[in-house]
Amino acid sequence: MPAVSKGDGMRGLAVFISDIRNCKSKEAEIKRINKELANIRSKFKGDKALDGYSKKKYVCKLLFIFLLGHDIDFGHMEAVNLLSSNKYTEKQIGYLFISVLVNSNSELIRLINNAIKNDLSSRNPTFMCLALHCIANVGSREMAEAFASEIPRILVAGDTMDSVKQSAALCLLRLYKTSPDLVLMGEWTSRVVHLLNDQHMGVVTAAISLITCLSQKNPDEFKTCVSLAVSRLSRIVSSASTDLQDYTYYFVPAPWLSCKLLRLLQCYPPPEDGAVKGRLVECLETILNKAQEPPKSKKVQHSNAKNAILFEAISLIIHYDSEPNLLVRACNQLGQFLQHRETNLRYLALESMCTLASSEFSHEAVKTHIETVINALKTERDVSVRQRAADLLYAMCDRSNAKQIVAEMLSYLETADYSIREEMVLKVAILAEKYAVDYSWYVDTILNLIRIAGDYVSEEVWYRVIQIVINRDDVQGYAAKTVFEALQAPACHENMVKVGGYILGEFGNLIAGDPRSSPLVQFNLLHSKFHLCSVPTRALLLSAYIKFINLFPETKATIQEVLRCDSQIRNSDVELQQRAVEYLKLSSIASTDVLATVLEEMPPFPERESSILAKLKKKKGPGAVSVTELEDNKREGGELNGGGERGPDTSAMSTPSPSADLLGIRSAVPVGAAPASAGSLLVDVFSEAGPAAVSAAVNDDGFLRFVCKNNGVLFENQLLQIGIKSEYRQNLGRMYLFYGNKTSVQFASFTTTVSCPGELQLQLNVQTKPVEPLVEGGAQIQQVLNIECLTDFSEAPLLNIKFRYGGALQNLTLKLPVTINKFFQPTEMASQDFFQRWKQLSQPTQEAQKIFKASHGMDTEVLKAKLLGLGTALLDNVDPNPENYVCAGVIQTKGQQVGCLLRLEPNAQAQMYRLTLRCSKDSVSKRLCELLAEQF
């Protein structure tokens, strides 16, 4: 850079700035600026041309005024003129003005781009640098469009100066970040990689930033950079601290470059080439060794630089996760940092250890530091460090140390910061569940948790404990006893009352033998908490009471008394009142047998991903809980619940389960419940809809949802709900349509017509009677459709509905879910039979095949239910591969019968299915294939 000559001091500018600084008030400042602006305007307007110096001076003043927050609407032209000056300082000011004040003014952009182009093609390195800096500073899309192709050329040209290369690399990086689509990869990419070998360290540092960014998007193009980076790294690491001269920072050779190299390597898997790998391992070892050496300087910069490299190396080691030796060494190194004076180091060490703990090689090594970490959790002054310590404890927990860690976390919880309590509670709950060998310990832990930090125990946590207690027979008695004891505390948390109410209601009989916890004592204990609780808890307790009546007939009189009292039966809360009334009636009218059936013990819950874990993940955002952990949990969860896996039992729905409690757990609510929650009158119709097809019901359009099921809600909007119930026998079908008026106003001239478009008329015969023209508000009317299948078909009949709502005519057309598969007749056959027929239907037209991605989960039970809903017979032990599904059926039409064979091959890894259909009629296989491909 040429030295600034004395004449460039720009006295006028200095005077102006000092004037502004000396202004006593804002008004004075504005006055001064107005005066200056007028002066500049008259100068720019003046007839005689300004020389470069004054132009520069005035542009500078304008820039300063702009930076003070005033609008500048002139002077752009003068600044652009400066760009073409030959003096460095003038050019520099011009570029400065452009990069600060550039707007998308079309004519100026053209001029600016022209000037930049001239500078880029000049041989003067300082001018080239200025132009590149301007492009990077503006970094707009327009700039990228104009120069994205030019800069790579400058970057890789052999005769470019080092400083220009540096600028070009960073400029390209900036353009790539703003508009990656405009920076095209080309033959220059390979040459960019070779910049890693450049003599000039500055060029390497700049290039590596670019390469790291580019390689994240196109890893294959830059694969070769790995070996180059390794060799560069080893050269730096092995160099003596004085070798690199300018690039040695407080005795550490090129720390920034080293960090960037290590970070680049983290974009790639471990090198396959043995030599390269050996060299890299050597480097990493050297870095670890250096950390052990006594510091060469007491300065904080020295240790910062050293540690920066070390931490980057450790994250690379963790990223590779393949060198047990290195992992353990890294872990030991981090262990030293755990007790370091520097808070930042302790934080970083804990954070890195968290990731180390998930590696199988270093998990044990991490565990050796458990005491230190626990100590950190207790004594650390900085809350963020404590948070990391808690994370690490969570990560390092396994079967061997679970009890200790959970106990420590529980004891810490009593004094923990409010901000992290909820997360801590979730973690304790998860760990307790995950590593529970002994369920009494689990129950103890969770109850303790509720006792210590009741406010932070979210619903998921206590839902989970109930799920587990219900699914495990062996722990129920203990749980009942423990909650009974816990409830005896004079003040206990509402969540404790909830758990207690639920468990005693279910399993109170298990401890009723003891006179100290006789039924009446249990009831009185629960009821003593009743009045202090919120409405949902009271509702739950009422349900517990009715269960008591079933469990202990001797308490009936007492409980009925309680239910009968005004505060229950006339409670202002509808839910409580309804429960009180209904339970009272139930207990007084129903016989013991009926009671026993209605109030049967809750069936076990289906196993699924722990809702607590889901909550933790939601809290921390995706990626916080590693995948391995998840799988781990699934495995553990399976063990935990043993054989207790059943599909959700519909009887659970008719049991008076407290509304506030378990609906949350049952995230898969059967279809019938959806209209119920909408307050509709159609509940009765849909309550028997199969629960199996539920998860599919969510996203598909109305028509496709009904391919595999016969009943459900076809359509719903603010006004109208249409439900369907249908049955098919042979080639005949009957469909009941239920039209529900959801408004309070009547629908007038309500008419429905069913039509068969096109050739469907000849294939399908649909008969119906007209409906009544008036539908009262809130009422529901029914229509019966008789369907006869004449021959196979592929279209669907259309249902048209017209009515007047508040004067406005509503018109609606829907596809009726009548599909060819509805006329399936299942056929059972043996393996041999199946394959014989399969071979018979070998003509290419008879077969239809489709490979598609799974759009829903690949749950076995759901799949089976869907295939059964299709109407075919699901054949077991037919296919040699047990993963595959094989079905057979005959489609009954009036004219003929069409045999169909189906094979569905799921591929769990790829989340893909292959569906093959062979039918005796070509059109049928095609149509079925189309329909089914949308279902899975």
């Binding site: 006593k24 006055k31 107005n34 007028a38 008259s42 307007k45 609407d73 002139f74």
Partner: protein
């Protein structure tokens, strides 16, 4: 109930901080500075609510006065107090500036203690305050004097002490008016009003009873009805309709309400007897006729004519016409017949000054403004404003009499020397162009 009072300089540094109530914390000082004085956007509302605390501020040159409260107070009371506070300070040490506040901070604290008690405003009459808060150090007082102060502070006539004696009984009365106008380019009056004050300076012995009379329409009409023939008929033409008025606390309001007569025992020295506002039949002393022509994108021609519209025997003074210029002005050429005109870049305006101008005259200025072409939006053309001073009351107010009675001492109304003066000034006097 004012919770506290702060005085800041233009940088937001606290010069005076006096907290009267516990509910105002120390952080309130900073809250006002951060949210009002240093606000990114200029705060235009004089009342700001920050964290359930209300700040009422007024600005005097570069000084901010802010009253703070947590309660729901009467805002006009707070502002009245702040204005009084300004008056008191001005009476004690002249202009309110950072320098003066710093030099007199002990005095200011003393004043604040006296005029606000636990946040409730007390006696803020300068005359009364000056008797016991003096600037000349401690003056030993006799018992008698002390008793007098007590009786005065607590007594019925708090604004005047007894036993004042003058050799020459003299009385000065100034009618000060400011006339506000907004006129369309075609000469239509869009809005106009006069706000006036009657300021008195009295040097009268004893406890005189004064009676002030002016050509108030209601009074005149009443007299006409009573049939007091000649005099009423003559001045009836010139009577004025007062829209609203306020009085100094010495005026007996009950008498004003019942008889519409203004009678009072005057304080000693300077005071403002009344304030009023009129909107009807205003005499507009000047008429401004603007002519603006845009010649292409780079030139603007402006011609402004002013006409004086009052008796030719009177002389207007300190006339100043301010013609705003566009923001992209690069040069101005001016020609004017009378006075001096100058383009002030720092204010983006042409300022034309005329020292004196008689009534029924006219004068004109023409300007050529050169512009720098920009692609910015069009110029908004702010109105041309004017300043002047005329020796009559634009509202038409006339003082009919001012009678002084002092039954205890031996001087009569005729012995009092009375001086009356009318000054009409411009308020916001604008003409759109």
């Amino acid at each position: 109930m004012i919770g506290g009072l702060f005085i800041y300089n233009h940088k937001g540094e606290v010069l005076i901080s006096r907290v009267y109530r516990d509910d105002i914390g120390r952080n309130a000082v900073d809250a006002f500075r951060v949210n009002v004085i240093h606000a990114r956007q200029q705060v235009r509302s004089p009342v700001t609510n920050i964290a359930r605390t209300s700040f009422f501020h007024v600005k005097r040159s570069n000084i901010w006065l802010a009253a703070v409260t947590k309660q729901n107070v009467n805002a006009t009371m707070v502002f009245e107090f702040l204005y009084k506070m300004c008056d008191v300070m001005a009476a004690y040490f002249g202009k309110i500036s950072e320098e003066n506040v710093k030099n007199n901070f002990v005095l200011i604290y003393e004043l604040l203690d006296e005029i606000l008690d636990f946040g409730y405003p007390q006696n803020s009459e300068t005359g009364a305050l000056k008797t016991f808060i003096t600037q000349q150090g401690i003056k030993s007082q006799s018992k008698e004097e002390q008793a007098q102060i007590t009786s005065q502070v607590t007594g019925q006539i708090g604004w005047r002490r007894e036993g004042i004696k003058y050799r020459r009984n003299e009385l000065f009365l100034d009618v000060l008016e400011s006339v506000n106008l907004l006129m369309s380019p075609q000469g239509q009056v869009l809005s106009a009003h006069v706000s006036g004050r009657v300021v008195m300076k009295s040097y009268l012995s004893g406890m005189p009873e004064c009676k002030f009379g002016m050509n108030d329409k209601i009074v005149i009409d009443k007299q006409n009805k009573g049939g007091s023939s000649e005099e009423g008929g003559k001045s009836g033409k010139q009577s004025i309709a007062i829209d609203d008025c306020t009085f100094h606390q010495c005026v007996r309001l009950s008498k004003f309400d019942s008889e519409r007569s203004i009678s009072f025992i005057p304080p000693d020295g300077d005071y403002e007897l009344m304030r009023y506002r009129t909107t009807k039949d205003i005499i507009l002393p000047f008429r401004v006729i603007p002519l603006v022509r845009e010649v292409g994108r780079t030139k603007l021609e402006v011609k402004v004519v002013i006409k004086s519209n009052f008796k030719s025997s009177l002389l207007a003074q300190k006339i100043e016409v301010r013609i705003p210029t566009p923001l992209n002005t690069s040069g101005v050429q001016l020609i004017c017949m009378k006075g001096k005109a100058k383009y002030k870049a720092s204010e983006n305006a042409i300022v034309w000054k005329i020292k004196r101008m008689a009534g029924m005259k006219e004068s004109q200025i023409s300007a050529e403004i050169e512009l720098l072409p920009t692609n910015d939006k069009k110029w908004a053309r702010p109105p041309i404003s004017m300043n002047f001073e005329v020796p009559f009351a634009p509202s038409g107010l006339k003082v009919r009499y001012l009678k002084v009675f002092e039954p205890k001492l031996n001087y009569s109304d005729h012995d009092v020397i009375k001086w009356v003066r009318y000054i009409g000034r411009s308020g916001i006097y604008e003409t759109r162009c």
